[in-house]
Symmetry: D2
Subunit: 341 residues, 4 copies
């Protein structure tokens, strides 16, 4: 950590600041210039609050040069985390999974049909929303507990583990048979929820918030991991920018950055990012090429007839074709392990 002091800091102020750092167990290095004095701090600065430091009247700026996340940091845990989802499905460390299903569970028939279709098309995990966060209170909010029950049945019928989104910790009881609990983009910084989920013993997939930095995503993983959970999966799903042709801007560089900074697996969701079915396949191909450990795609049995979220859903046939492309890309780049997952 680097602190730049103001020109008018007095010697005794600087001294008392340095004493305070040393009490925290940090090594302090001072560089004095004509217009500025710079203090370099070496040691475990993860528990030092940057805002706190900037709050001091003699400090002009404070910059963290080491990352404030530890459990999620590849520097301290160089080996890839492999998250075991079921007896046969793993994500991370070379294990790749296609995750597919409808945006919302609409009926048992619908979800079972889609489940079997995406399984056939190459999906390893079934997704489906039961609790839906909607911007408008007048929009459809999901089937709730019934939806989760239907999803569980569909997972069993198709022989697939399932993932679905939780909205608040009071719903946890309903998630006992859910294999991966998803934290949505809008809840990425619902710290109370993250803390609770860290104690529930299940793999947690955290979606990046619309305007969250990569560092903030890793700090949210840190919240979950601080509770004891090490099976965290990160998910890039587009960020908010000025561009309006796509719903959000899919940040694929984030995949490469995350692989470098963390040992946790990274999944990409091109459906929500682009908001347009016709952009999903090229972005799924690109996500695979960028090194994603999994790709989550919205699939609906009849997107054009359905009156819900069809805009971004693929048909089962389109999904199977996208999944085949993804596999082809992975093989071409030597990413695919034979006979696994």
């Amino acid at each position: 950590m680097i602190a730049v002091l103001r020109q008018d800091a007095t010697e005794s102020q600087i001294e008392s600041l340095c004493d305070w750092f040393q009490e925290k167990g940090l090594d302090v290095h001072i560089s004095r210039g004509e217009y500025q004095t710079i203090i370099g701090l070496i040691g475990d600065t993860s528990r030092i609050d940057t805002d706190l430091l900037c709050g001091l009247s003699i400090v002009e700026s404070a910059t963290r040069v080491s990352e404030p996340y530890k459990s999620a940091n590849r520097k301290f845990h160089p080996r890839d985390t492999v998250v075991k989802i079921s007896d046969t499905v793993r994500i991370g460390g070379g294990h790749f999974a296609m995750i597919a299903g409808p945006c919302s569970v609409e009926s048992e028939e619908q979800i079972v049909t889609v489940a079997k279709a995406v399984r056939q098309g190459g999906a390893a995990v079934l997704r489906g929303g039961a609790f839906k966060p909607r911007t408008s209170p007048y929009d459809f909010q999901g089937l709730g507990a019934d939806g989760i029950h239907m999803l569980i049945q569909a997972g069993k019928a198709a022989g697939m583990p399932i993932i679905t989104e939780i909205m608040n910790a009071s719903q946890l009881d309903l998630f006992e048979e859910v294999d991966i609990i998803q934290v949505g983009a809008r809840n990425m910084q619902n710290f109370d929820l993250l803390r609770e989920l860290g104690r529930c013993g299940k793999p947690i997939l955290i979606k990046r918030g619309l305007s969250s930095t990569i560092k903030e995503l890793l700090m949210s993983a840190e919240y979950v991991m601080a509770g004891g959970c090490s099976d965290v999966i990160l998910c890039e799903r587009g960020i908010r920018t000025f561009e309006t042709y796509t719903r959000n801007t899919l940040d694929l560089s984030c995949v490469a950055v995350l692989r470098e900074r963390t040992h946790l697996p990274v999944v990409v969701d091109p459906s929500h990012a682009t908001g347009a079915a016709r952009l999903v396949t090229p972005m799924a191909r690109a996500a695979a090429a960028a090194g994603a450990d999994g790709i989550m795609i919205e699939v609906h049995n009849d997107p054009s007839a359905a009156l819900c979220d069809g805009a971004q859903a693929l048909t089962p046939a389109q999904f199977a074709s996208a999944a085949a492309d993804v596999l082809a890309v992975r093989r071409a780049l030597g990413m695919e392990k034979d006979g696994e997952n």
Copy 2:
């Protein structure tokens, strides 16, 4: 609402879509061009899901031309909402309030001292955080229930109503003696929480999310109002942009836009937006000039010594000076009602 159809939409597809709109009680107007057909929908479209519409294979785009919010919409409720905070304090409709206090409640002595000082300096409402959402699990998270208790005592001691932030609905019992419940920027789209708060019978202040549009802020107000609450206060506190000199970019145009679009009062928080004490006074002056109904400012009894959040806090003396400036601006612009609030 306007739907633009794809070039290849067939007559029978267009007809069945129009039938479906008419069943929803909407008037349908069709304009046919060489490359596009445009459908104009007149009537109550607030319950039509734009995503749903875009999902249809024959639809190229769908644009809402009337706002999806109703309860918060000035078009349907032209008169300003006046939120009654206490017997003597009101916000909105010409009533203006300075809200001040420390970022975090640290001790009973601290909060009582600050309360009396800001009251003296011109504040009408006391703020203070007890539950603090922090990006890092290793940072200070607030005093919790104890903090709320101290804040209540301080409010009584200084004779001021109080405002503090709630993190999740399970904390509601602790807020019985709180006068305004604050929803933080990170929870602006925690829809479960908003829905619960709409039923609690207290004024709710909603902070705009870091990357939330004005429309989304109004939709969040709509969630609270849908629960029966009409005492909603909106708060601009900076949005996330590419600029890094300030922590966030304070969007003061938002104040003028909100006054036009909604009858709800609008408060501005220059402390969190800028993250720097020396920018707070000019931005408080500007917020008053832009027409804000209230200004919320972080004040600490000893920002330079304190080891928490001092960067953006004013001293009580600086606050009193800023409050005097705000009053002067309001008087100069004829905004101040004599003898009130």
Copy 3:
């Protein structure tokens, strides 16, 4: 084009507006609602100024539903444009090209060495900067005319066509032997320059501005095409967002969107977008998978020793490996035509 009128527009105002539209040769369709009147305009609206329309006191908003670009629009020119760069190199319509070279031309020896190395590694076109736009007046600004001369020599020595950036129209004479003239991101809306380039008879590559929308990029292509030039290549090079781990955010969805909206070829520059050599290869792979017609990569003979722009440059060996990956991805996805380009 759709115009939404204000509630208080009078009948005679509406009538005189409609007359004006009809004089412009447009068909006018009116839909009247309780709170709004909507006017749909069918016909060639590309010459109607949206700002102009919004300027009328009776207009609440005006939305273009057809694109304002015509020459670049795939709707009117469905077939891919193939840009002929040299006797053997083409870009677009299935023809793909790797473009490689140093950020700046430093010396004849350097540029010849790099040229031969990238040719060997799979590049079809040589890049190298002679005029460098730098944020600081104190930074190195390029070798200018000498640099262009060296680049031309290196292209001849390696048997490759060359591309380099122009800063203003007065430099055009120096570009006679340059095969593709590049317009940098900062000049994307230098309309005087675009207009001049449209008349110079050479292929023009336009880089997307840091904060330019896809539509604005297409409008800039329209400026060049309005001058008579049809050989325009578009280049995605990252947009400015709040994320700071990468220099800019590479928007690969833009590639898929552009392929849908325009017939012009699309090139991706992962070096400038990410600003970090270690992210270039994954992003080059992803760009190929997303369907780019070309990839532009910064290569330096000795990035670690060189004291210029090395951060984002690959070594020739790294480039050869990335180029092989790109080819593998294209083959796996059936994008590669045999025996061509």
Copy 4:
């Protein structure tokens, strides 16, 4: 400047890097940690290229802690710059000016009428566009040389100095009788143009680019000042964000930041920022309260009838009212000097 070295940097690499810094006349301070080594550089680092430093394989990151701008830096020139526009008009150092006029010069009659009206309403400087940068090649591009001539006549008729925008250096001859030359937002990083303007001996107003940081704006001022010009005026006119209710987001914090960082005067343009006449007055008031040295407002004699840019123009009467408000705010805040400008 701070450089953080990679974990795997060898002693001899570090040593040779430090030698290189010392050759540049910098003092070097090394802090060694377990995972990182930090180098602090003290001295004149403005000529060190950060990109260059990051390019070295042993460098993880490099951060500038002192600003790269010198001539524009308040640290080195604490006194406010006062720009003399005419015998009676000054901007900066307590001198304030309203700048007003139409977006485009349309005819001599129009510009003379507006000039007299805004003079009457409190404007000190007359604005009017002759060369208009337009996104679409099909939109009106301004009257060019004729427009400048009309503007000069109008300035003389009303007894006001004038400001108008230049698009490229080849137009300079036409600007001989122009009092302030404006560089538009799209040309803020047209470095060739900036360099030329620095030598022309006239006051230059630089508009902040849509996606330019405050630092980049200051660096553009630095380009002009490097040519010998010290009469530079900075102009905030809104930045591009995700918000779409306003055309751009007016960043008023920028005014307070600039007053702290630079001695150059700062002007605010609420018309282009908001794009809506009804938001101009509240934002003009706010800009004055934030401490702007001038406010530039679009005024048209008949915005509702005119078919050009009326959306954001005030009528002369609205302008006079806004100007009176601005004066009232300035007086209330003690900003107004008696008997001057």
